[in-house]
């Protein structure tokens, strides 16, 4: 489904489906020329999971840590990092790797590595988080 969504966005509109790029372009103004398309994508992205969630049978939980400090630090890192590095899991990971883009492949290896180090480090510092 994720791949089909990316294929639809690419072959239909000629755009790369990267969550951080679509949102980031709205935030910093670099994507002002096609803001409506970006907003439509985000509306779909929020709305259908909301419907699935309220249907009950397909509901899930985010199991997010209750530690607000961690959440804010992580959010800042993710926002800053994806915009400096030009992509996140969908842009570099799905769209970049499938295009055999060297930048996408290198970025994906690096962020998965950094994420793995962080998970191990957290366990060392706080125990089971």
């Amino acid at each position: 489904m994720i791949g089909c969504a990316g294929a639809l966005f690419l072959l239909g509109n000629g755009r790369i489906m990267g969550a951080s790029g679509i949102l980031g372009g709205l935030i910093d103004g670099s994507g002002r020329s096609n803001w409506a398309e970006r907003t439509a994508f985000l509306v779909g992205l929020i709305a259908l999971p909301a419907v699935l969630q309220s249907s009950g049978t397909l509901s899930t939980q985010t199991n997010l840590t209750p530690n607000l400090g961690l959440i804010i630090i992580a959010g800042l890192l993710v926002g800053l990092g994806t915009r400096i590095g030009n992509g996140c899991t969908s842009g570099h990971g799905v769209c970049g790797i499938s295009r055999l883009s060297p930048r996408g492949i290198v970025a994906t290896l690096i962020y998965i590595g950094a994420g793995a180090v962080m998970v191990v480090a957290l366990r060392g510092i706080w125990g089971a988080l």
Binding site: F9, P49, T60, T62, V78, G81, P102, V106
Partner: protein
Amino acid sequence: MRLLIALGAGALFGSGLHLSGMTDTAKVKGFLDFFGAWDPTLMFVMGGAIIPMFIAWRVAERRKPLMGGDFPAASDPVFDRSLILGAVLFGAGWGLVGLCPGPAIASLSYGGSGGFAFLGAMVLGMLLAPRARQWLDRRSVVA
């Protein structure tokens, strides 16, 4: 029509993230936990997403987007400081709580106040990014 395609792609993407467990931070952390109780299932989610995209890129070589315009040009294989530092920062944040941008937006309706706090902080990070990038670019010119 462009808007409808964007809306449909967003909805399809969101439901894929939702159903595959990408919005469950415990599952994401399990995937990143290579040195502990590693849960590889999300690797198959990513692999499964790459296959249709791989075909789409092959198709893209031979035609134009349905709605006109051109496909985005491939970037030069330059591994500059911003790409690497950006990926390190993003990965660290991802590992810290288990949310990346797509699932953070997709789970907004049920992620509670923590989900909103994450999104707010992420937006703030995105606002600061152009400045950080300028600074990095200036430094790499000197180096």
